[in-house]
Assembly symmetry: C2
Homo-oligomer: 418 residues x 2
């Protein structure tokens, strides 16, 4: 009799984005006349075409795949040397961070790696997540059996670290001892960034507790403020306690191409139940080579093109484009009299609604009165209640239109949707 | 203190292909003068360029990704409807097999899916694998904790099903009760196929034991003999007991592009520890949407092109090309006086060496005396001892040269490498 993984039954049915899709569809069905007015500022997906340097690299690589002398079959699972080298050199060594080429594992997505990384950890680790939090960190731990049953506001067994306006959305160190800590900066959903001092205190905590930080830096390219760390490895000692996830999704706009990478330093250790330390690099190497078969060759060439002088310029322009959207949206929300966070070093704007109005009420109000789709803050965790997220990934035209509508809103009217 | 997955420590160090690479490198370093004579018939990687229909589809999709109006970001994790529909229609419904579009999950590789599928199963399943076996089935079960320690010839706790010349390399039903069964036809490494009667007996066994068959049909396109099933779902009742893995790697030559799919029928059930049945489709859907983010859009368009009239013709030509290689290699080995299997409905030739000569002795003999790289049968399991595998994935020129060398060999001389 084949037994299934019963942990899946603990997963709460309403994954955030399907629920949003359901409400948008219901609204569209009820009001077909305003369908064309709808502006989607919900999910964090890029809208601009791929950089020209990447398009050119793709065409060239596709031609190689069509010719005898240049065809490539299986590549190295960890990624081609040309890409691992470009990443390690430009993203790390050029910035004074000691990362070797073979500490870079090229993959098809940060979401994928963030889920699979749990395979190399044992059961019984105490997991800390921020609140609000990107739902995938939580769900993959539920699937792996690292949590108990769902309870109000989360799952038993997880340590939730509240991120609120009071702490600038940077989690305080936990009072208790935890083993694995998810940190995401620039943050999705709050758009917050962590200072060097804050990250330093986390690295110190992790080293003292022999804990490991899973650092999601997928939005690193959006950091514009000087002095804010782009990588956890800018912090001394982080090589001994952190795995970093990076992505080409949000800088190069690769959400439809699929390429990312994970950094596993060779001197990062974890422990057996008997208390013996072992390096994690060989485990992830074994995982990656056994359960993965590399990223499409043309896509790796496109990722390499991001590091060319032309590619960098084009990525800077893309980031600048979305950040100008963010500025417009921030100003609009301020004009409407609301408190706004994020949107300075991140493409997400995190907005506090008027007192005592729930996130879903704000969502429904924005959908019905302004025909703007946002993401309710409570969907990311209990500490997001009363907030909503606006994504800056949109065309300029739609952003301007959304900004005009937002600025003119009286958000106290959202109370009726409670 | 972060705990690691201690099951990884059970994995035996010498994964087959790295060991082959090591011996080839040592030979090359010792004999640089014959490096250009080396013919690689080891790993099963295609050598011919992608079909023209796929190249055209790739270029077109890349252009779409470079333009505002046609750019695509995140696609559905399960694959675009256009591809799921093409697969379900052409590979299944056109052949009289009832598979719905949403039972198809498009992925980046069969190796990946075959590893990840274990995530939706509970611990404590009794796993049966063929012997010899594609190593990934075994290694992923070791990682998941479904085995005990390594012992001579395998791992404790796994049920090995010997596949030998005596049973035409099709496993007999086990005497004991097992919960999950890996079957692979056309088989890697033996090149054997299973008849309808043989697969029917497996489906009957699985249904009686509420077991699940994980059916790897990655080499389905190479079946030329009429009447040999291309899919497990050709067998009545298989929808209730089987998951099928398919790939575009070996028909379209996508090993460097990465696209495959897995079929999970909606009426396939597994069990809770309390003995309650539950459908597996929602679990795999949840896994796929949480830990995967879809295949690159251009690659999905290339896969779709395989089902066009032009694409089918080009794939047939590719298969025909490699199967002519297989015929040449088979004849050569017969001429050398050895017993040969496979290579008729599969791109692998499975060769029995002279009595009492080990697989690694045969490997070293072929490397040193004929400068041909093969794969030692014992690397796939104890029942492969005394055999070696020749891959038909090669250029015609190299295949002809390899065939001439093979036909002229006196394999009894391999005894000196014992």
């Amino acid at each position: 009799m084949a037994y299934l993984n019963e942990h899946y039954a603990k997963l709460q049915a309403g994954y955030l984005f399907p629920e949003i899709a359901r409400r948008v569809k219901a609204f569209n069905d009820a009001h077909p006349e305003v369908a064309t007015r709808l502006i989607r500022c919900g999910i964090g997906d890029v809208t601009e075409p791929l950089p020209a340097a990447c398009i050119r690299a793709l065409h060239k690589a596709v031609d190689e795949m069509g010719a005898h002398d240049t065809f490539r079959g299986y590549g190295p699972e960890q990624g081609y040397d040309f890409l691992r080298h470009a990443i390690a050199q430009h993203d790390f060594r050029d910035r004074g961070i000691a990362i070797e080429d073979d500490e870079i594992f090229v993959s098809d997505g940060s979401k994928c790696d963030g889920g699979h990384i749990l395979d190399i950890f044992g059961v019984g680790n105490r997991i800390a997540v921020m609140n609000p939090v990107y739902p995938v960190y939580v769900d993959t731990n539920v699937m792996a059996g690292n949590t108990g049953e769902p309870v109000a506001g989360g799952y038993e067994g997880l340590v939730y670290l509240p991120c609120t306006a009071a702490n600038n959305f940077v989690a305080a160190l936990p009072d208790e001892s935890v083993d694995i800590i998810y940190l995401c900066y620039p943050n999705n959903p709050t758009g917050a960034v962590a200072t060097r001092a804050q990250l330093t205190s986390w690295v110190k905590y992790a080293r003292e507790h022999h804990a490991i930080i899973l650092f999601d830096a997928a939005y690193e390219a959006y950091i514009l403020t000087p002095g804010i760390p782009h990588s956890i490895y800018e912090i001394e000692g982080a090589r001994e306690c952190a795995i970093e996830f990076r992505s080409f999704s949000k800088n190069g706009g690769f959400t439809g191409l699929r390429c990312a990478f994970t950094v596993v330093p060779k001197n990062l250790l974890a422990y057996t139940r008997a208390g013996e330390s072992r390096p994690l690099h060989p485990l992830w190497l074994r995982h990656h080579t056994t359960k993965f078969n590399g990223v499409a060759y043309p896509v790796q060439r496109a990722a390499e093109a991001i590091y060319s002088p032309e590619g960098r310029q084009q990525v800077d322009a893309l980031v600048g484009f979305y950040m100008e959207n963010a500025r417009l949206l921030r100003e609009a929300v301020v004009a409407a009299g609301l408190q706004v966070y994020g949107g300075v070093d991140a493409p997400y704007i995190w907005v506090r609604g008027p007192e005592d109005i729930s996130s879903w009420a704000l969502f429904d109000f924005l959908l019905q009165d302004a025909n703007i789709v946002t993401t309710p803050g409570s969907g990311f965790g209990s500490a997001g209640e009363g907030y909503f997220r606006i994504s800056a990934f949109n065309s300029r035209e739609r952003t301007q239109e959304a900004s005009q509508r937002l600025a003119a809103l009286d958000f106290t009217k959202a109370r009726q949707f409670a």
